[in-house]
Symmetry: C2
Subunit: 306 residues, 2 copies
DNA sequence: ATCATCCATCACCTCAGCTGATAGAGAAGA
DNA sequence: TCTTCTCTATCAGCTGAGGTGATGGATGAT
């Protein structure tokens, strides 16, 4: 049982396998050869296996020994990650980076920064969560996430620090089979009033205000995918981020819906922010990620920090 | 460094986290509470981290502590696999099961047996290799695989023990765009002679005999997938296992090619065998898998063992 | 045959981790 | 408030696992 197995035994085993000799392993580990011999004998005794064929001048790994050396490497690597994690926190790196992402936020623009993060902090555990509209903000406030990628409405709240990354353009869209697609002209507000708007909503406040609602017929969804299913099936219209509907517009499964006197037309663009709590400083990795994002996006607005 | 970290420290850490108390951990591990206290203090000292907030009556994990407990579990699990592997070999289970599969062999019929193998021997490392026609047999003979799934031609060699599992029916097929598909009648051998046959061959003997060659125009492939690409593109005809071409026949991308006086017509079926070396007995897991396959397939031929 | 290097075994020594006792503190209940 | 139970930290003393260096037998190269 693990009560007897030691990482030191595994280290000795792997070193012998790598150098091909007990005495060479002793030299590398700065121990007497007899200590090496004893350690292997103890490991063999307790595990009940023969790791080496000793009939030749030098020891040769048995088949069992080879397989166990392979697993020993995995154990030692995992232990190394434990120590790297501990070392990281001594240097101010957070033990974990929890990131919350709102459903409308495209991940593609973030991929390169996240990939770079992994290269610079290879042992950092990172978690991503998505919870519905405003869910990311909520996770920040609850201390469940250190960083949020979200669309902040209508302005950046005072308790958050938010770096604007990119605009998120929303387009009114509809399926070609939907009556609004067959008007042959731009839709009036009266036309819109006749039909269901498919709305992405905040799961914590389903009846609360949601962006750009026109009519009185609103079907609310927490789940972006389910809303898309309804949209494609022609059950209603909605405003969608351009990045998400581009493929559907390209192949004709969805059409852009033109609306006369659209109340949301003047603010038809939302900003994707990378936000964190003002009173809870990011750790080193979080700060690094934010700086990397700032470099990659370089948004002209100077809203950050203010 | 790993020279100081011990599995025992990690076990103590995880036990405290699970039970919420140093003394409870001591009771479970049958040690004095002070030993637990010391072990944690040593771990904290060497790794330079504070694992517990001790300002309350009971210790509470810090954020760092929580992350490190998570990694400690992974290390202990990996060490557990090391011991399970050792225990397995004591019981006659081989340290690894290397399986070679010929490219024409369908994997779908084997899936259930392999899934069951994983359930019965959860810590057994299993590797699969594919090397081209006859590659599986070659790996058996080289000692690189314990078990082979292959089509043995023309009879089972004497040095192998082979359990017949299922017949593998080969169909001559062609793309609808190929001239042979547009004859409007069965093809004669003269028709066939005019066109390229796409042949799967042995990478070790590319010019060697391959099954069912008719004409003098043979393009040889080691790679089943590439051959299929050429076939679908109408560059030639070939004999394919029925199981592999059924979807293509169903949706019309391939047609069955009827051949008058086909020399291979009388032996249009090959047998899939599970084979191993006669002079190298299988370990427990290999034997178990063979028995399971025997049960699942129950082939009426009694060629096994003879 | 000689030499260098290998691993196994032995007797002895050292110190990490164990024990039980003690002190101070928190939490719950009367 | 007091009592009781339970908690962790620290201490002094003890034990045995794993270290050392020496020795013996064996292998492999010259």
């Amino acid at each position: 049982m693990i009560g007897s197995l030691t990482l030191d035994q595994l280290r000795v085993l792997v070193t012998i396998a790598d150098l091909g000799s007990f005495s060479a392993a002793g030299r590398q580990l700065q121990r007497a050869q007899s200590a090496i011999s004893q350690t292997v004998a103890t490991l063999e005794g307790i595990q009940g296996v023969r790791l080496f064929d000793r009939s030749g001048h030098r020891p040769r790994l048995t088949e069992v020994g080879r397989a166990l050396v392979g697993q020993a490497r995995l154990v030692l690597a995992s232990a190394g990650r434990f120590e790297a994690l501990a070392a990281g926190t001594r240097e101010g790196i957070e033990p974990e980076l929890a990131v919350a992402i709102d459903p409308l936020v495209p991940t593609a623009p973030l991929i390169e920064s996240l990939r770079a993060l992994r290269n610079v902090f290879p042992n950092l555990p990172v978690s991503f969560s998505t919870e519905g509209l405003r869910g990311a903000e909520r996770r920040l406030r609850r201390g469940e996430a250190a960083l949020a990628f979200c669309l902040l409405l209508p302005v950046v709240p005072e308790d958050l620090v938010a770096l604007p990354l990119v605009g998120a353009r929303l387009l009114p869209v509809v399926s070609p089979t939907h009556p609004l697609a067959q008007l042959g002209r731009a839709a009036t507000l009266a036309d819109i009033e006749e039909h269901v708007q498919l709305v992405l909503s905040d799961p914590a406040a389903p009846e609360g205000a949601s962006y750009g609602i026109i009519g009185s017929k609103a079907w609310r969804f927490v789940d972006l995918g389910r809303r898309l299913d309804f949209l494609l099936a022609g059950l209603g219209w909605c405003r969608m981020p351009e990045n998400l509907v581009a493929p559907f517009l390209d192949d004709g499964r969805l059409l852009r819906l033109r609306i006369d006197d659209d109340p949301a037309a003047s603010a038809n663009s939302l900003t994707l922010y990378a936000a964190h709590m003002r009173d809870r400083p990011l750790g080193r990795a979080g700060r690094w990620l934010l700086d990397d994002l700032k470099t990659r996006f370089e948004m002209p607005l100077s809203a950050y920090g203010s």
